[in-house]
C-alpha cells in the first residue's frame, strides 16, 4: 500500500493506494500521523478512490485519524469511497462520527 499527500482547495488530502489491511495499516497510520504532526491541517480529506481492498483495519485507521483531527478542532472528510470500503465502515457505524459520501 502507498500513501500520497496532496493539497486541495479545502486543505490537505491523503490518497490511499492499494490494499489496506493490518500489515499495511500499521506503517501507513504511523506515516500519516507523522505527516499531520508537521503540517497540522484543519481540514483533512481521506481519499479512498485508489483502494483495491480494505478490511476492518480501515475502521481503526479512520477512527484514529478522526480522533486526531477532532482533538485539534479540525475536520476529517472521507471521499470517493468504493462500495466494499463503505460496507466495512458502515458495519462499524463509522458514519455516525465521520460523514461518508452517499
Amino acid at each position: 500500500m502507498r500513501v500520497e499527500y496532496k493539497t486541495n482547495h479545502r486543505g490537505t488530502e491523503v490518497v490511499l493506494w492499494g490494499e489496506l489491511d493490518h500489515h499495511a495499516a500499521r506503517t501507513a497510520l504511523a506515516e500519516i500521523h507523522a505527516w499531520l504532526d508537521q503540517t497540522m491541517p484543519m481540514h483533512l480529506t481521506l481519499n479512498m478512490a485508489r483502494l483495491s481492498f480494505m478490511d476492518s483495519s480501515g475502521i481503526a485507521l479512520v477512527l484514529s485519524l478522526y480522533k486526531r483531527m477532532a482533538a485539534l478542532g479540525g475536520i476529517l472528510e472521507i471521499t470517493d469511497l468504493p462500495p466494499f470500503a463503505r460496507r466495512i465502515l458502515k458495519a462499524a457505524g463509522v458514519e455516525k462520527l465521520v460523514s461518508i459520501p452517499a
Binding site: 490494499e19 489491511d21 493490518h22 500489515h23 495499516a25 500499521r26 497510520l29 481492498f53 480494505m54 478490511d55 476492518s56 483495519s57 475502521i59 481503526a60 477512527l63 484514529s64 462500495p83 466494499f84 466495512i88 458495519a91 462499524a92
Partner: protein, 144 residues
C-alpha cells in the same frame, strides 16, 4: 447431511503479517473456480483477511507461530474455509465475538468476527485456551 467435497487446498504459513495478503489472494484464486461475482470474491477475501489477522495478532502475540488454512469446495456451490492456529486461544468466545470488543489496542477495531459472520453467513469459532483456535466459515456462491 454431510456434503461431498469436490476440491480442497491446504496450506500452512508462518504468522507474519505479510502473509495476510497472501492468504486472501490464495482463497480468492481457489474460489474463482465457482465463477463468483466481484462482491462474493470481495466477501471471501475480507473474511479470510480478518481470520488470518486475528491469528497473527491474537494467537501469537509475541512469537511467530504456524497458521493452517484449509479451503474446500463443496457440492452445491458452497465454499468452506477453516483457519487454525496453535496459539494462545480465546478465554471467552462470546465476548470475543461481540462487536467492537478487542484486546488488540487502538489499532484494532474489534469488528473482525462480526465482519466474518456477516460477509460469509456461517461462522463457527472453537478455542481452547493455551492450545489454539479454529475458525470455520461457509458461504454459498453464485447460482446453481
Amino acid at each position: 447431511m454431510k456434503k461431498k467435497i469436490l476440491n480442497t487446498l491446504k496450506l500452512s504459513f508462518p504468522s507474519r503479517s505479510a502473509n495476510e495478503a497472501l492468504a486472501r489472494s490464495i482463497a480468492a484464486a481457489f474460489v474463482s473456480q465457482l465463477d463468483p461475482t466481484m462482491e462474493e470474491l470481495c466477501d471471501v477475501k475480507t473474511a479470510v483477511s480478518e481470520a488470518v489477522t486475528n491469528a497473527v495478532v491474537h494467537a501469537y502475540p509475541d512469537r511467530v507461530g504456524t497458521i493452517e488454512m484449509t479451503l474446500r469446495l463443496l457440492e452445491g456451490g458452497e465454499i468452506d474455509i477453516s483457519v487454525r492456529d496453535k496459539g494462545r486461544g480465546i478465554e471467552n468466545i462470546d465476548l470475543a465475538r461481540t462487536p467492537t470488543y478487542t484486546t488488540g489496542g487502538a489499532d484494532r477495531s474489534g469488528m473482525g468476527f462480526t465482519i466474518m459472520e456477516s460477509f460469509m453467513g456461517y461462522l463457527r469459532v472453537l478455542s481452547t485456551p493455551g492450545r489454539g483456535t479454529s475458525v470455520r466459515m461457509r458461504k454459498k456462491l453464485g447460482h446453481e
